[in-house]
Assembly symmetry: D4
Homo-oligomer: 160 residues x 8
């Protein structure tokens, strides 16, 4: 079984690459999906394809709906949803994705710096893991998918 992992949320740092690189290094049978991470494209896709809107609300509306075609399909296809909250912006779409995944019964891993802990307590309460670093997410995937844990199963395997 190839596990499908959806990486939702913050798009301004390379956390997705770190997780993908870590998973590749661990040899995991896994595929990653994500929203479109080009901020300008994500904002303007609607009007770029379907025509301009003088009203900013509809400009955004058209784009957000196109993005929803992608994000909802990929979340529904995912075995695990990782949601990352970064330092900036409101990031309501990340919290929306977490709620969406929760209602679908998807296992959720939340990834955020400790200072957001109180504000994210409802999101964390719906998660099966709360991590602070991409390395921890890789370690979770490595354990959950392959059953390997540094210092434990690894030691056992080395001893064989």
């Amino acid at each position: 079984m190839t596990w499908s992992i959806y990486l939702s949320g913050e798009i301004h740092t390379d956390w997705r690459e770190q997780i993908a690189d870590g998973a590749a290094a661990a040899g995991l049978d896994v595929s990653f999906a994500a929203p479109v991470t080009d901020h300008a494209a994500s904002d303007d896709c609607g009007v770029a394809i379907l025509g301009p809107e003088p009203n900013k609300f509809w400009h955004d509306h058209k784009g957000a709906k196109l993005n929803a075609i992608r994000t909802r399909t990929l979340i529904e296809d995912a075995d695990i949803v990782v949601v990352r909250f970064g330092d900036k912006y409101k990031q309501w779409n990340a919290a929306f994705d977490a709620g969406y995944a929760a209602a679908l019964g998807k296992p959720i891993v939340v990834l955020h710096p400790p200072e957001h802990q109180h504000a994210l307590k409802e999101v964390d309460a719906a998660a099966l893991a709360v991590a602070e670093t991409p390395e921890q997410v890789v370690a979770i995937l490595r354990y959950v998918i392959a059953g390997r844990l540094a210092g434990s199963t690894d030691a056992a395997q080395a001893a064989e």
Copy 2:
């Protein structure tokens, strides 16, 4: 049919009362539900009932889970979910509720001031109405539930 309306989100202004009063004045067959809106109780319910936690994460975790018993049950029972975003705080739980309701296929009405428009575009894209005032939400409920629209069906009724 009595319509069940869940009023999610901001708990520091009286918008829920305004909507309930407006619905009562309009004579709608409707019942309202909401999260616990006492901020201190909502934060501390977990440790108050189940015992203290020295670690703030688990303090919050216990409380957020108790609140989830209430909020998820009431969202699943709702015919319409209204989600209010106010001026302050991160309000990730409001966006989480919106995502949760969206995945359940619930009709969503979002209520927020215009300055949040861009940041809420993904949430708005999942909604069937985006309002700026509680009066508009009352007018929506009045139209959707009772089929009455100021200046239109009302005029027709007055003419009879």
Copy 3:
């Protein structure tokens, strides 16, 4: 058990009243629901409540979404969905409602004049009954809900 019947489609004749009157005369334990049948209100509700739109597409869009809050909720609540196609207009919303009800597994009764037979063959194929008159729909409800059939069970009852 009170049966919930949703009466979808054409809004320019009194077929809903005929069915409701017939059901009342038959003493059926039934409640009826319908879209907002005031054409002007149905078209303009969005902008009347949420503010004007210079672009006709968004004018209609806002209204259609408000109507969707009502229609989808009532279709999902219905035990039987009756869909009426009349003589005029495209009536794509009626066919949309029929498809929506079909995917939810709702029993569908289609009501249309014989000249639409070929064009409606896919809709009819998803229905459990295809009627031509409101009286037939009343007879269906009378049989399905109360088990009474003119000339058969009625005769049996009269003989008792």
Copy 4:
């Protein structure tokens, strides 16, 4: 992930080929499905296989049900449903398919000329995109599936 796209609706122009050709040219990982587009076969399949019917209603009924085996299975298997409304005929089956897809929670793209806008407002309100040309549908698939947007992500890639 190979995306499954169901192309519902009008069968008298080559819009399906235009979309398939555009998707192939863009190198998208996608598979297309459609109803049987041979009009005569679609009308007569029931009686051709299962025996003649003197009554036109049952003639059509047998055929519409065979077509339903195909269309419902493919809609349920689809990741995105594109529904095309053309210039002629009632096209109630296209609207039916849209309603069916909506109730299943499938992302819907509607494709129609501007003159149908008002009559299709309920269908458009259930869609995540409303396009006027097959080229726009291709651009949507290119963006949604591959994250590439002409003049934006493409420019970024060209600059690398």
Copy 5:
């Protein structure tokens, strides 16, 4: 909680009355539903309401679909489905109802004489109880709904 019991199957003996009488005597909080048990009405309802059919297949088809409106709605509404197989006829509709109820996850009680045991083994395997007499079904309902068992809880109550 009022328990809804659907009594499917054989319509030529008074087993439904025996169960209803027994439940009433036991004071159970229960409501019963059933197909239309007037054999002639059940066979002819389709053509009686919707017009005659020269072909027996379509004569039966119209009627069977009207009956399906009733039976599927009531099975989906039921908490327990009792399926009775009698001595005569093929009774494929009873087995169909059992399969329908099984796929919906409804608790099934099968009621049949011992000589049908081998032929009904697949149906029995999907049931939570296999009874031979209406009295046993009443005893099951009495135990399951009210927690009362002759000679056990009854004795305990009498001793109080």
Copy 6:
């Protein structure tokens, strides 16, 4: 897309082989599944594997449950369910499978000789096609899966 076809029902004639051969000859992208068609094995598998039972009811019960592991899994996996009723036996398991498939929303094709028409009217009413011969089932699969109809699309292809 490879279509999965489940062939339920009668196990004493070679109708499954006829359909499989016909589908292979037509070059259809299809896979077939079926219950265990060795009658003795199907009856005795439970006690053969899990130990003997002196009581015939439990002897049958153990076997019927093992068979249910296979049949329910394969029906749930199927895109189309074909149910065959033959000349002999009660065949309640075939009707049960039809009901099970109907409640799951699977397209059903019923295959039976004309003399069973009245007794099978409820089953036929839940089907999208009622055939009398395996050749007709092959023609249905050929049309539904590949869009090819003898004398129509075939002629069109031959003319190219």
Copy 7:
């Protein structure tokens, strides 16, 4: 809204009565359901109603299935499932109920003495609250259903 609470698990102490009494004293709008708590009746109901079995496995099997009619129906009807583990016996049925409720997405409250903590860690991980006393369960219900918390909202109300 009346909340339905299912009280699963241990049947040898009066914890159900303590919770019901506490909820009544708090004036909560709640109804409680439970398995049959008469141990002998629960063990023997199958053979008492449906006839004796010489083999203990089938003796138990018949009874366990009758109990399943009750327990699964009531768990599916519940808004909250409370699962109590006591000091004695294997109590696998309590853990089974917890897993059943978890897969249905029901909010779970686990009630057990601290010494079972490690053995119940998987069950606790699926719960929204882990309590040690019936009083805590009452306090949870009081907070979740009525929004009242001792020392917090109560103080606020007293101050009014």
Copy 8:
């Protein structure tokens, strides 16, 4: 079709290997999945990856949730769930898995020594087979997946 089998429960004997070896020897088209069977890793994965917890409850909680990511995903992916109860420990997680699988409608095979029969009667009542040895489970898989039964279909094949 490759059948997915989830092997839940006891982790201290080699029963999983016996079943996998037997299935391989029988040439079955099957894939097996299981929880992490390294006891120490399973207990400590949470704190090893996400940081230490002084409180044993949270130590266990973090680990149990990581394990739930794996186990729930694999159970939901499974076609058949085998649950093994061994001689030692409370094994509440095995019973929880059985309840979880039952609510999802998965076919369940329970594997336990005869002395646990009475305590496991509710779990056994939800199963489609109750086995005592891994060899029996292999024989079940061989029959259910490949339709081969020792002494019956095998003899038939040998005779060909």
